[in-house]
């Protein structure tokens, strides 16, 4: 009976969503010029007339100048998604970091362990030895991912997760391994604090919170796009510390 009701409700939901689908433009058939993303792609946000945009009457045709130029006014991110995440909509990312921070904090508060929980399983010798070789490489790869976030796909969150994967591997390979909560807590706290401080510096220098106050450089170079790689490094380290802390909490018990 319960199952029947569930099927009916789920079918009703699917029907509702499908009928709502009529208002969304068809799959793959989108006019980017009517969306703000066209300006993100062209990097001409600061030249747009915001008032006209808000009133939905200033949608000029776009030209291709200045996109790839040597002197880019907006930012030098080759990866437009990164430039949205860490520059145009950086405040969302601050919120996102905070969600993860809250979740890690919550897992710590809920499970609240101080001692390694032992499962009494002895990992394989090959696995243990290869872990020792792999862990530094994994951490290096994670760091590569977040440092190059503005050039290639990836960025702070996957990079941090890869670093946390190294911690997970260590937990699986070694029954004794236990990260101290003090170190991960200090790292995530200080990195989060530095992110907010970078935002406040922007407020002090440029007048806007999270303002990109550094020179942007040339598109495609490693040292480019102002505070973007710096912020992504903060995020990467913070996420890595946070998720490692989360994994530590899952492996711990009260003692």
């Amino acid at each position: 009976m319960r199952r029947l009701y569930a099927i009916l409700i789920a079918a009703g939901f699917v029907y509702m969503m499908l009928s709502f689908l009529g208002v969304v433009p068809g799959y793959g058939n989108i006019d980017l010029c009517s969306r703000v993303s066209s300006s993100f792609l062209l990097k001409d946000v600061s030249e747009q007339n915001a008032k006209n945009w808000l009133m939905a009457k200033g949608l000029e045709t776009k030209s291709i100048e200045k996109v790839y130029g040597e002197k880019n006014k907006e930012d030098g991110c080759a990866n437009v998604v990164t430039s949205i995440v860490v520059n145009y909509r950086s405040f969302d990312t601050l919120g996102e970091v905070t969600v993860l921070f809250t979740a890690a904090l919550g897992v710590g508060l809920i499970l609240g362990g101080t001692r390694r929980k032992k499962y009494g399983l002895l990992p394989n010798f090959v696995f243990r030895e290869s872990t020792r070789i792999l862990v530094p490489l994994i951490i290096l790869f994670g760091a590569y991912i977040f440092v190059h976030g503005h050039l290639t796909p990836g960025g702070g969150f996957p990079g941090g997760t890869i670093i946390a994967a190294a911690a997970l591997l260590l937990y699986l390979a070694d029954e004794e391994f236990f990260l101290s909560k003090v170190s991960t807590g200090a790292l995530e706290g200080s990195m989060g604090g530095l992110y907010v401080i970078a935002g406040l510096l922007g407020l002090a220098i440029g007048g806007y919170f999270l303002y990109n106050f550094l020179p942007t450089g040339r598109v495609g170079n490693l040292i480019s796009s102002g505070i973007v790689p710096i912020v992504y490094t903060f995020i990467g380290l913070k996420v890595g510390a946070e998720l490692s802390g989360l994994i530590t909490d899952l492996h711990s018990e009260e003692g």
């Binding site: 990866n79 998604v81 796909p153 969150f157 997760t161 994967a165 994994i247 899952l250 492996h251």
Partner: protein, 81 residues
């Protein structure tokens, strides 16, 4: 070609999702859920979203599965008793 692959991916995701919901053992459920996530990575690539694909593969499919498995391991099965 691409459409056929997307349809195939959709079919796999649907089957895996139904399996994840209906499976008797939680462990099967978790694995089926990670299959849904992994196939969605293919969809993201098909829709030209490499950033999202990398993030979903590492964070969505990898980490969530790991966290669930560790939690499950801690609970020793979850569906016994």
């Amino acid at each position: 070609m691409m459409t056929a692959l997307v349809v195939l991916a959709g079919a796999i995701m649907t089957v895996a999702a139904v399996f994840a919901v209906e499976a008797k053992k939680i462990l099967d459920s978790v694995i089926a859920m990670s299959v849904v996530s992994l196939v969605s990575v293919f969809l993201f690539i098909a829709m030209r979203a490499p950033d999202v694909a990398i993030t979903e593969a590492s964070v969505g499919a990898g980490l969530v599965t790991a966290v669930f498995l560790v939690a499950l391991f801690r609970m020793k099965g979850g569906d016994e008793e």
